[in-house]
């Protein structure tokens, strides 16, 4: 069997994205042993939304069997996905959900992802305290889902007060600056909810201010942060959005192309087209194992996990 699968990534501004593509390419190679030839063609560059729509159109022109996309917008692809479907192409979105009924989402639940770490924070603070949040890009769907997630959790805890929420655009240095400003104006905060690479920045400011012992804050999954976490024994916890999600999506795609059917149809999420993958969690309890698993990797390497071919097959009839 031969399948041609197109991978589209519309932003190369983070190492997580490049790792995502690499893992997907490795997953494709793994199918060879099963006697399935999976050829991947990837488009990965900084583009705007129309530019990524063009990615999809290019795949249609090439006549791929499936498209796996990490979309720059949740809703903008509805018309072009409809065209892909007309052309008989399977479309799977990963990392960010899409509204199109013609596509499937295979990835983590961003809201659930935020809720996990928010729960950890709330529990660590024993249900009370002042908390600040440092978010990604305002208006970005993944960011807004995450915001909704932590707000829901903190809302359930009477004693937790969100004193300020700021945006640092998923930029580590901006996260560090934002934290610095927040520490100056709210010297008595107890917890910080911060996402992704910004967590490393925020922690740096916390440590600079010698408050590492007084503040609990969420963390992230890059190796260089995990090292710092281990070395300094930080009071942190991190939900994992593994870059392997695209690899998982690829495995799902191949099985679907083979004509297999899911045991449970993908109907989760706000658009009823999602199949959620498990969200690993890193806390002091399993930090050692995590650190061991990323040993020897470069600093930008993110702790990852993905569905193996066997795991994936288990989801199918």
């Amino acid at each position: 069997e031969d399948f041609k699968i197109g991978l589209s990534n519309g932003w190369v501004g983070s190492e997580w994205r490049t790792q995502m593509i690499e893992e997907a390419e490795q997953a494709a190679a793994a199918w060879k042993e099963k006697g399935v030839n999976v050829e991947v063609v990837a488009q990965s560059a900084n583009v705007d939304v129309p530019g990524q729509i063009a990615h999809v159109r290019n795949f249609i022109s090439q006549g791929v069997d499936a498209i796996i996309i990490n979309p720059n917008s949740p809703t903008a692809f509805d018309p072009v996905f409809a065209q892909a479907k007309e052309a008989g192409i399977l479309v799977i979105a990963t990392d960010a959900e899409v509204s199109s009924p013609d596509a499937l989402y295979v990835g983590i639940d961003q809201k659930g992802w935020a809720m996990e770490s928010a729960k950890w924070l709330a529990e660590t603070l024993e249900g009370k305290g002042k908390v600040v949040a440092i978010n990604g890009v305002a208006g970005h769907p993944a960011n807004e889902m995450r915001v909704a997630g932590y707000r829901e959790v903190f809302g359930e805890h009477e004693g937790i007060e969100i004193v300020n929420e700021v945006n640092a655009n998923w930029d580590q240095a901006q996260g560090q600056q934002a934290m610095q400003n927040l520490l100056a104006t709210y010297p008595d905060i107890d917890g910080v909810w911060v996402q992704d690479g910004m967590a490393a920045g925020a922690w740096r400011s916390i440590m600079d201010a010698d408050k590492a012992d007084d503040i609990a804050a969420t963390g992230e999954i890059r190796k260089d942060f995990i090292d710092i976490w281990t070395e300094n024994d930080l009071n942190s916890g991190a939900s994992v959005n593994p870059p392997g999600v695209m690899a998982s999506a690829l495995n799902v795609a191949v099985l679907m192309l083979q004509g297999r059917e899911l045991k449970e149809p993908a109907t989760a999420g706000q658009y009823n087209n999602a199949m959620y993958l498990p969200i690993p969690f890193i806390s002091s309890e399993n930090l050692k194992e995590v650190a061991a698993s990323v040993e020897g990797k470069p600093g930008y390497y993110s702790y990852t996990s993905s569905l193996s071919i066997e795991d994936t097959e288990a989801l199918f009839k």
Binding site: S14, S44, A200, G299
Partner: protein
């Protein structure tokens, strides 16, 4: 009266007054904002921006619509190169500095050659170069061992170094003195102003116009690269697009410092104040608890209002 007006129009003075006013406002809105430690930390952030803006300032002074949009890319690239070279070890710092300076100078040279030999407008050349740099970042990130800053570098940037001030602030003061010396006490500086205000006349007076313009772009690259190195020290590890946030702010700092984008006029002292002003403004906005949409609207509007104080274009009717 006239003299008073003249002094009141001094961009440096305007910036200093505005900074004081903003600090006061910030402290009123959120007590603790203007504490000594916080001001020092703001200065660290301003120093990073200010060092990038030094190069930007030179390129803008050189006229012919000089502008360098590629600084952000160079900052990112240099942070990654530096992280890669020093790899978390103090011993690697000298080599990392060399590597950064070389990287910055190289891309500055490309910009300079495009602008002078091919006469591509700087905005276009450096915008194109930014695209190339962003692509290059993706390429070279494949398989680099690590991006950790050396401990000494981080200490230098974030910890008190001399008289309670972190090393990076001393570095920035040094950059300020160097810039003042270059611009006001060297023939090179006079030539920068000369090509900025009348390139043709400068050429006829034997000024090596191209060489100087190339040198300006190279200096811009070098300053951006040094900032990238310091940014690595600030954030501890290098990561993609770390410098993206410096592109337009570095230009605004220059404008707030009283150097018009048309070149040939202005200096660096104002730019330093402009950088501080911008950083203080941004940090006040972070600490005020409003929606991001509100913050952006206030930020945009405030920038516009502040610009009214600075070098508005002359009226058409004299």
């Amino acid at each position: 009266m006239n003299r008073v007006l003249e002094i009141a129009k001094n961009p440096l003075l305007i910036a200093l007054v505005l900074i004081a006013a903003l600090l006061f406002l910030g402290n009123t809105l959120s007590p603790g904002f203007a504490s000594g430690g916080q001001i020092l930390r703001l200065l660290i952030v301003a120093a990073l921006l200010g060092i990038v803006a030094a190069g930007q300032n030179l390129v803008i002074l050189g006229g012919r619509e000089g502008i360098d949009l590629s600084v952000g890319g160079v900052v990112s690239l240099s942070a990654i190169v530096a992280g890669n070279v020093m790899n978390g070890m103090d011993g690697g710092i000298p080599l990392a500095i060399l590597a950064c300076v070389a990287t910055g100078a190289l891309f500055g040279l490309f910009n300079g050659l495009g602008v002078t030999l091919l006469r591509i407008p700087p905005l276009v050349m450096t915008l194109g170069m930014l695209g190339v740099l962003q692509g290059l970042l993706v390429v070279i990130r494949q398989g680099i061992p690590s991006g950790r800053a050396a401990p000494a570098l981080s200490e230098f940037v974030t910890r008190p170094f001399l008289l309670g001030l972190p090393g990076i602030i001393w570095l920035w003061i040094g950059v300020g003195l160097l810039m003042a010396f270059i611009l006001h006490r060297t023939v090179f500086g006079q030539r920068i102003y000369a090509i900025g205000s009348n390139e043709q006349a400068a050429f006829m007076a034997g000024v090596p116009v191209r060489h100087i313009r190339i040198a300006l772009f190279m200096l811009s690259g070098v300053f951006a690269a040094i900032a990238g190195l310091c940014l690595l020290g600030y954030s501890g590890s290098s990561f993609a697009n770390v410098g993206e946030q410096y592109m337009l702010p570095s230009i605004i700092a220059v404008v707030f410092g009283g150097t018009p984008l048309s070149g040939g006029k202005g200096g660096y002292t104002g730019t330093m104040a402009g950088a501080v002003l911008l950083v203080v403004l941004q940090s006040i906005l972070t600490t005020i608890n409003i929606d991001e949409s509100g913050r952006q609207m206030v930020f945009g509007a405030t920038l516009l209002v502040l610009m009214l104080f600075y070098g508005r274009g002359r009226g058409l009717r004299a």
